[in-house]
Amino acid sequence: MQLDVNLGWTRLDAGGNDNFKSGKALAVHFDYFLKHWLAADLGLYVSDKTLEESRQDIVGAYRTSIQSQAVLLGLKPRYRFSSPYEVYGRLGLQYWRTELEVEEDFGAGIPGGIDSSKDTGYGYYASIGGGHYVTENVMVQIEFRHMKQLDLFADTSRFPFDLTINAFSFGVGYRF
């Protein structure tokens, strides 16, 4: 079994003309090894509130933000070299819960405000990473993660979208 804790920098892409700043996220994975090269991967992903750059259009000034959590379930193949290095991947499904918030300002004399909505749904995730065993049980690792949340707000809006989260993370793994 192995416990991985990764802290990453995220880039969000909602598929339109969105322009998110980079954000941060924490991922915790519990791996149960079915074979020495393959583990079942159970994870939890939590992002901070990621802000978009402020925009201005004919309606007014606005800024969106997204905050997301996800439960991850998949497989983690790995290959350990004779040297104290290891490469690994993750591939699986996610169940996500995402909150989208919009803040609008219309100028002097007109009340602006904030509106938000939450949605849940399914998607997938994939990762590739590498680690270095500091001790027989402790590994430091880097990982590139790609997550896709599908059909956000499809049940409540005529304008659903898919959310892509790419993240580059550093972390620690502990085998026990």
Partner: protein
């Protein structure tokens, strides 16, 4: 643009109180264009004819020859100050079968522009200020029907205007690619008369000059106030070339640069004619080459204009339907030996 202050159509009494501030803004618009240009043209005779008091509607709808889309530009002024529509309030232009929202802010603060599909059967275009909290946000990426902070309709919503198109314009002279060598030359316009002698004529221009190293591009307008003969659709009008070409060093008291809705309309027309391959600030681009010493391509747009009607809720207005035709002439200054 250097214009930072604006009022909103919801500002109500506060907008009125900003009248004196706004009066300074109108010259500011013109000044901004000129400052951006870097030229020393006296713009004092180039103020939009917008009164200092009251609610004023400015709208232009132009159908260019052989085009299946009309260009629509509109603006509202309150006590001389351009009003920014906001919060989902937006100009709507509609015919019996088509409808567009004027979602593109024009080059000048407070002006809006869009292209409206039309066909030969279209005679009238109706302009309305509507409140469309979802449609107005259509360019945003997120679910605007779900997340929508709607302040409700502003004070201008419900106000309207209507324009009709006059007969199409057919230019007879000058012929394309006629070369002029001096700004004292005269461009002899002639065209086939329309069905209403009282229609106004107007000449818009989009000019690009190059001296081999630098370029300049800008737009001008020649109207009946400057050339009284344009007050009637009589089929002929000589116009001096110095209404299009000027000396960057000397300035000019005759040239009138495009401003407000006319500028928005012209930019939209150029965009349409070039299938979007036009500099979005073509008519505002900085002037580096001195036109009088440069080779210039002068695209002349002769417009036949017919006054429309505006809502009685407006104190005053200028609402115009027009048709236009284009001819390109060349200015190639005569080489002088020092």
């Amino acid at each position: 643009m250097c214009i930072s202050g604006f009022v909103s159509d919801r500002a109500g009494p506060s907008a009125v109180s900003k009248g004196s501030e706004g009066m300074a803004l109108i010259p500011g618009i013109v000044l901004a264009v000129l400052v951006l240009s870097g030229c020393e043209i006296d713009g004092s005779d180039n103020l939009p004819r917008v009164p200092d008091q009251g609610l004023f509607m400015l709208a232009e709808v132009n159908l260019h020859e052989a085009e299946d889309e009309a260009q629509v530009a509109a603006a509202v002024f309150n006590d001389g100050v351009p009003v920014n529509l906001t919060g989902g309030d937006v100009f709507e232009a509609r015919t019996a079968t088509e409808r567009v929202l004027l979602m593109k802010p024009g080059p000048v603060e407070g002006s809006y522009a869009e292209s409206l599909p039309v066909d030969n059967s279209v005679q009238d275009v109706f302009l309305n200020i509507v409140h469309e909290p979802v449609e107005a946000r259509a360019s945003r990426w997120y679910p605007v029907d779900l997340l929508n902070i709607d302040p409700g309709p502003g004070e201008l919503v419900g106000k309207s205007a209507m324009v009709s198109f006059p007969l199409p314009v057919t230019i007879q002279t000058p012929v394309a690619d006629t070369v002029y060598t001096s700004i004292t030359d005269t461009v002899d316009f002639s065209w086939i008369q329309g069905d209403n002698f009282d229609d106004d004529m107007r000449v818009l221009s989009a000019i690009e000059c190059t001296d081999g190293f630098a370029t300049s591009s800008y737009g001008t307008v020649v109207e009946k106030e400057a050339v009284p003969g344009l007050d009637f659709d009589d089929g002929v009008e000589p116009i001096s070339l110095d209404r299009f070409i000027f000396d960057l060093n000397q300035g000019s008291s005759t040239i009138e640069f495009l401003s407000d809705a006319a500028l928005a309309l012209m930019q939209e027309l150029l965009n349409q004619l070039s299938a979007g391959n036009i500099d979005p600030d073509f008519l505002l681009r900085q002037r580096n080459a001195n036109p009088i010493e440069s080779n210039c391509e002068i695209r002349l747009f002769l417009q036949r204009r017919r006054q429309g009607q505006f809502d009685t809720a407006f104190d005053d207005g200028s609402v115009t339907g027009s048709t236009s035709s284009e001819v390109t002439i060349l200015y190639i200054p005569a080489v002088t030996l020092d």
